[in-house]
């Protein structure tokens, strides 16, 4: 019964999209097909988990969004309007939250994660990037006409860059809404940021109703992937990405500076530890770095793992968990001064974690959700 309903919905969606006459509205396109209801949602790939008040909400493959009101004991599948992989989510309070994913979708909930609506996707993103690039090219051309000779060569240089950017954007639009957003962070219910692949970086001031391309505010001409965005205690904001890129903003995201990176491999995550101006970044092959001065200088934290580290969770009293591929889990009891390695026996990749209590940790990853009880007794 359930299956045929889903199938019927899929054909219905397809009939709808054919009438939209867009090349990307294929039969059951992932950006317009609601996630199928399934009991497997909590036991298959989940990528992120956060708290919305007392509730836990997690996102994962095929548009899955699930929530739990009993500390991870049982999970309910939310109504998600898309069926593509969701990569990250963020709640500013118990009700207002956003999730992002492939196809550059941004989803929004106002009821604590039960019902979600689509605010933005790759089609809109591509259009916006093209519009902005066109505007910049036009601007530069205009400037070039009136510019004094000594600025002209510099402007020509910029124009060339801008033209390339426009070409890239057009090419992207040709391929379709393929590129993923990888992380989301909101300052409050109005203002927020999303980052993603190939330098995707957007900003909203109206709770996600409209977005502005923020990418030009980073020095990322090679359009490296931006993997994570976070704010640390003390107010500084960080974005980390491919090739060891670390960006910092001390004015709530208005302007960004590129920091000197301790590493040239990819960084997958950034997290504070609860202390003012203290921050961790981590990434490929067990690389984990710690800074006490908001990222001006870094120290490598030695951990004996070869696997990539994906995400961190901060608990009370200096407890920090960092999780990664092949079941790697690192735990610190002292704000990250040192970590102990606790590999999970099934060796399935871990993507995110959150503390349920000082002694309980919820993990999500390749195998879905997993609650670790009494982590202090791990050895």
């Amino acid at each position: 019964m359930k299956l045929t309903t889903v199938l019927r919905k899929m054909t219905f969606a397809c009939a709808l999209c054919a009438s939209l006459n867009s090349p990307w509205s294929l039969a059951g396109d992932v950006l317009s097909t609601p996630a199928m209801k399934t009991e497997l949602a909590s036991s298959t790939l989940l990528v992120d988990v956060v708290k919305a008040g007392e509730r836990l909400v997690a996102v994962g493959q095929r548009g899955h969004i699930i929530y739990s009101d009993d500390q991870g004991g049982s999970w309910t599948q939310a109504n998600s309007p898309v069926s593509t992989l969701l990569t990250s989510l963020y709640f500013v309070d118990a009700k207002q939250g956003w999730a992002v994913g492939h196809g550059a979708v941004v989803l929004h909930t106002e009821d604590g994660g039960v019902n979600w609506s689509k605010q933005f996707d790759g089609v809109a993103a591509n259009e916006m990037v093209i519009a902005q690039a066109q505007k910049r090219v036009a601007n530069l051309k205009e400037q070039l006409e009136t510019a004094p000779e000594e600025e002209a060569s510099d402007l020509e240089y910029q124009l060339e860059d801008a033209s390339f950017a426009l070409e890239d954007a057009m090419a992207d639009a040709e391929v379709g809404p393929g590129k993923p957003l990888l992380d989301v962070w909101f300052k409050n219910a109005q203002e927020g940021f999303v980052v993603g692949a190939y330098g995707f970086f957007f900003h909203t001031e109206d709770g996600g109703a409209s977005w502005t391309n923020w990418a030009p505010r980073l020095e990322n001409t090679e359009r490296f992937h931006l993997n994570a965005i976070a704010q640390i205690t003390g107010g500084a904001m960080f974005i980390v990405g491919e090739a060891g890129y670390v960006f910092r903003s001390t004015d709530f995201g208005e302007t960004w500076e590129t920091l000197e990176s301790p590493y040239d491999g990819s960084l997958f995550g950034v997290s504070g530890n609860g202390n003012v101006n203290e921050v961790f970044v981590f990434g490929l092959r067990g690389h984990l770095f710690y800074s006490q001065d908001s990222g001006s200088t870094w120290d490598r934290v030695g951990v004996d793992v070869e696997e990539s580290l994906m995400s961190a969770a901060v608990g009370e009293g200096g407890r920090i968990a960092v999780v990664g591929n092949s079941g790697v889990m690192l735990l610190s009891q002292n704000f990250g001064e040192d970590f102990k390695v606790h590999p999970q026996a099934n060796r399935l990749g871990l993507l995110a974690a959150t503390f349920l209590s000082p002694d309980q940790l919820l993990l999500v990853g390749e195998g879905g959700v997993n609650v670790l009880k009494s982590i202090s007794k791990l050895n």
Partner: protein
């Protein structure tokens, strides 16, 4: 028709008018016929001796089913998916990371490589260069073969090996989770490209035993070898088939003992056995001449031919002794026996043959062959047991001790027959009918759960505790792999098999399937693309998604396993690994796929069912469930029509056919309760059971009618029937049931199942004919009317 002959009376016996032309033909040329029989038998024996086991894969599957046609059309592109063998080499003590284990594993890998029938390019083991590990580093990818370069068996290289295995992602696939066994995977070639010969499963299975299992287990006592795959299963089946010869001999000996105990006459014992063995020789000889082989299914037929032969032989011996006891000489007794029996005998045998021919409805070659071979066998019996047997008896006669026994027993058993004749008494008949009705009701109730197909895990043809099934258990328990694979062939235009819409369609179908109970996991090019896209993005699961960018898709499937894309990228298989191959699981999965295919019809791709062992099983089940009712309707119609033509009475037809119907219902209830499904091997038995069962009814009814027309009351007529034919029927039923009982001990489960069902049908059809037939007759037949009608018919001539 027949009753007129009976009416003629004894004194007409030697007048030409009373002798049917057939009788004259047979008995006037006794010697010539006997010599001809001898010559043909010698010729057939030579032919029969050359018969070979035959079990090609194609004969076991319903070739006309669309699933199978799809599979055969795409056969070349599916090669690696169908027929393969998996050999697990386990350590008894410790783990696999020892020098001696790895050395043995290497030697076994080499040996597997040289097994005849193995597709060498596809062999995978820790020791083959196609098994690699890959890792993402700051600079890009790094990788190599799982066996480290410069491996020398030292602790250092073993540590490196362990690390490589962990990185290769083969844990759970080629290497067991507990690191105590490793699998060598070898795809097989159905046809040898060099010689053009098709794979000899028996030979392959034997090579596997001697060159791999026995050799290396002896060489390294710390290892144990497990092997599974279609080829091994079939090899084991053929091996087990040989034990049937022993059962056959046991059955012959049992039959001889019982026959002697019954007749106390050596000629009465040996002549039916001889005639039946001649029938078997002819039947097997003819098969060989027609180019058939013997397979685990048709091995049933020679046995059946023997059984039916004995059944008719006993009737002839019985009639002979009765006539001899009345004082006729051997030749006259033989003629009288022939005259009395050739019509019911022929009728019974033609019914048998027609019953068997209904198996032609099932479009699976082994079953169709079974229909043809069994019909040939029955045709042969008409000649051997209705012609040869009386001729031999006309020479040797019934011995004096036999005649004496016949006379004595006639008197001493009268009381017993008298008691049994009460089955035709009104009050007993009423109770009998009530019991039959209740029995049928219970049968219908209990057969509700009757299933099509296999009900058990593993190879249902073999016993659950057979080595094959134990090996299967070991591999299922230690590896995250399933031996039941359903393959959907995804057809596209050329070079389109990896386009985004196709990949997306496969990904959707996979998810729908993974949400279907009974599906463990799925795999396709889309899975490969997602995994590699993730890997190309530094192993980050946030990239575990299909890209819309064709270039990314293309690079992600560059190294896809060869079996997943055909040469012009117009077909790619989607695999569903199932928990088991129970009929309901298979049907649920194909229903899901067909619904998906219907609801998502599009121009980009077409979903074709089905390949893989589960696909073949699903097709087989569908064919069987469709044919089952049709076959039963037809077999009952044929039997009814033949009975009607002979006895010219619907009431007679009911008397004979209703007990058979009860047996069929109870047999299905028994199958349900014993957990036996309707399958390739059990469906024929249901049809054969009806065919053989009707013999009893026909013999009983013929005599019964004869005595009624003599003017006897129902109960008296039945008493006389029991005294003459009844005891032969009873004896035959018991003898055949005991003979077929031996099959229950066969190492092959499918033969044990056949044996059990035949045992039940032989016995219960006999009970039905002796107990229920007279009860029905009590309410259906009116002796006075019958006599009047017969008189009227005679008067009219």
């Amino acid at each position: 028709m027949s009753n007129k002959l009976h009416d003629q009376g004894d004194h007409f016996i030697l007048t030409p008018k009373a002798e049917p032309w057939l009788e004259r033909l047979v008995f006037n040329n006794r010697l010539i016929i006997l010599i001809a029989f001898l010559a043909i038998t010698v010729f057939m024996a030579f032919s029969a001796a050359k018969i070979k086991p035959d079990s090609s894969f194609e004969r076991l599957i319903p070739l006309e089913h669309p699933y199978i046609q799809n599979m055969l059309e795409n056969r070349d592109d599916l090669e690696n998916l169908g027929n393969s063998i998996r050999i697990a080499v386990a350590v008894e003590e410790g783990d696999i990371f020892t020098d001696s284990y790895m050395e043995t594993l290497k030697q076994i890998t080499d040996e597997v490589f040289y097994l005849r029938g193995v597709d060498r390019s596809g062999v995978r083991s820790v020791w083959t260069p196609n098994v690699r590990w890959v890792e993402v580093t700051e600079e890009g990818f790094q990788g190599g073969t799982v066996i480290p370069d410069g491996y020398n068996g030292s602790q250092e290289s073993l540590d490196k090996l362990r690390q490589n295995i962990l990185r290769s992602g083969e844990v759970g696939r080629l290497v067991a989770d507990n690191f105590r066994s490793v699998i060598i995977y070898a795809p097989l070639l159905e046809v040898d490209p060099d010689t053009g010969q098709s794979l000899n499963y028996e030979q392959f299975s034997r090579d596997l035993e001697t060159n791999i299992r026995e050799k290396f287990q002896a060489q390294n006592p710390n290892i144990h070898i497990y092997a599974i795959g279609f080829a091994k299963k079939l090899g084991d089946l053929i091996e087990g088939m040989r034990s049937v010869v022993l059962f056959f001999l046991v059955a012959i000996v049992l039959t001889i003992v019982l026959l002697y105990w019954y007749s106390r006459c050596w000629s009465g014992t040996l002549t039916p056995v001889l005639a039946s063995i001649v029938a078997v020789i002819w039947q097997v000889g003819i098969l060989r001449l027609l180019g058939y082989g013997i397979d685990p299914y048709s091995i049933l037929v020679p046995f059946l031919v023997f059984a039916i032969g004995i059944s008719h032989g006993v009737q002839i011996v019985n009639a002979m002794s009765i006539e001899s006891a009345r004082g006729f000489d051997a030749t006259t007794s033989a003629r009288l026996a022939f005259r009395a029996l050739y019509i019911p005998g022929m009728l019974a045998l033609v019914s048998d043959a027609m019953g068997f021919l209904t198996l032609l409805f099932i479009k699976i070659d082994v079953i169709k062959d079974l229909a043809v071979t069994a019909s040939i066998g029955v045709a042969v019996i008409i000649i051997t047991n209705l012609v040869l047997h009386p001729i031999i008896l006309s020479y040797v006669g019934i011995t004096k001790s036999g005649i004496k026994h016949q006379k004595n027993r006639g008197e001493e058993r009268d009381r017993k027959w008298l008691r049994m004749s009460y089955f035709a008494h009104p009050s007993v008949a009423r109770v009998s009918l009530l019991i039959a009705l209740v029995g049928a009701g219970l049968g219908i109730y209990y057969k509700q759960g009757l299933k099509i197909g296999d009900l058990d895990k593993g190879a249902a043809e073999l016993r659950p505790d057979s080595r094959y099934n134990r090996d299967n258990d070991f591999i299922i328990n230690n590896y995250s792999t399933s031996s039941d694979v359903m393959v959907v062939m995804v057809k596209t235009d050329r070079e389109k098999c990896s386009s985004y819409p196709v990949m997306k369609g496969m990904d959707d179908l996979q998810w729908v399937l993974e949400n279907t109970p009974g599906v463990e996991s799925t795999a396709s090019l889309a899975t490969v693309s997602k995994i590699v896209t993730k890997a190309l993005n530094e192993g980050n699961f946030k990239w575990y998604e299909l890209s819309r960018n064709q270039q990314i898709i293309n690079s992600s499937i560059q190294r896809a396993p060869s079996g997943l894309v055909n040469s012009d990228c117009s077909m790619t298989p989607l695999l569903a690994f199932l928990e088991d191959h129970k009929a309901e699981t298979l049907q649920r999965v194909v229903d899901t796929i067909e619904a998906f295919s219907r609801e998502n019809a599009n121009d980009d791709y077409q979903l074709l069912l089905a390949a893989g062992n589960a696909g073949v099983d699903a097709a087989t089940n569908q064919v069987i469930s469709k044919a089952k009712d049709l076959m039963l309707i037809f077999v009952y119609s044929v039997v009814s029509v033949l009975c009607f033509v002979t006895f010219r009475s619907i009431r007679a037809v009911l008397c004979i056919v209703v007990p058979l119907g009860l047996t069929s219902i109870l047999c299905e209830a028994l199958m349900t309760q014993m957990g036996i499904g309707i399958k390739v091997e059990t469906l024929p038995v249901i049809a054969l059971g009806v065919g053989i069962g009707v013999d009893y009814g026909i013999y009983i009814y013929t005599k019964f009618e004869y005595y009624i027309l003599e003017g006897k009351s129902l109960q008296d007529a039945y008493f006389e029937t029991l005294r003459s034919t009844g005891k032969a029927v009873m004896f035959t039923g018991i003898t055949l049931a005991i003979g077929v009982c031996t099959w229950i001990f066969s190492p092959i489960k499918l033969q044990a199942n056949m044996g059990l069902l035949l045992f039940f049908m032989f016995l219960w059809n006999m009970v039905g004919a002796l107990w229920l037939l007279p009860a029905l007759a009590r309410f259906l037949l009116n002796p006075e009317k019958m006599v009047a009608k017969a008189k009227a018919a005679e008067g009219g001539v």
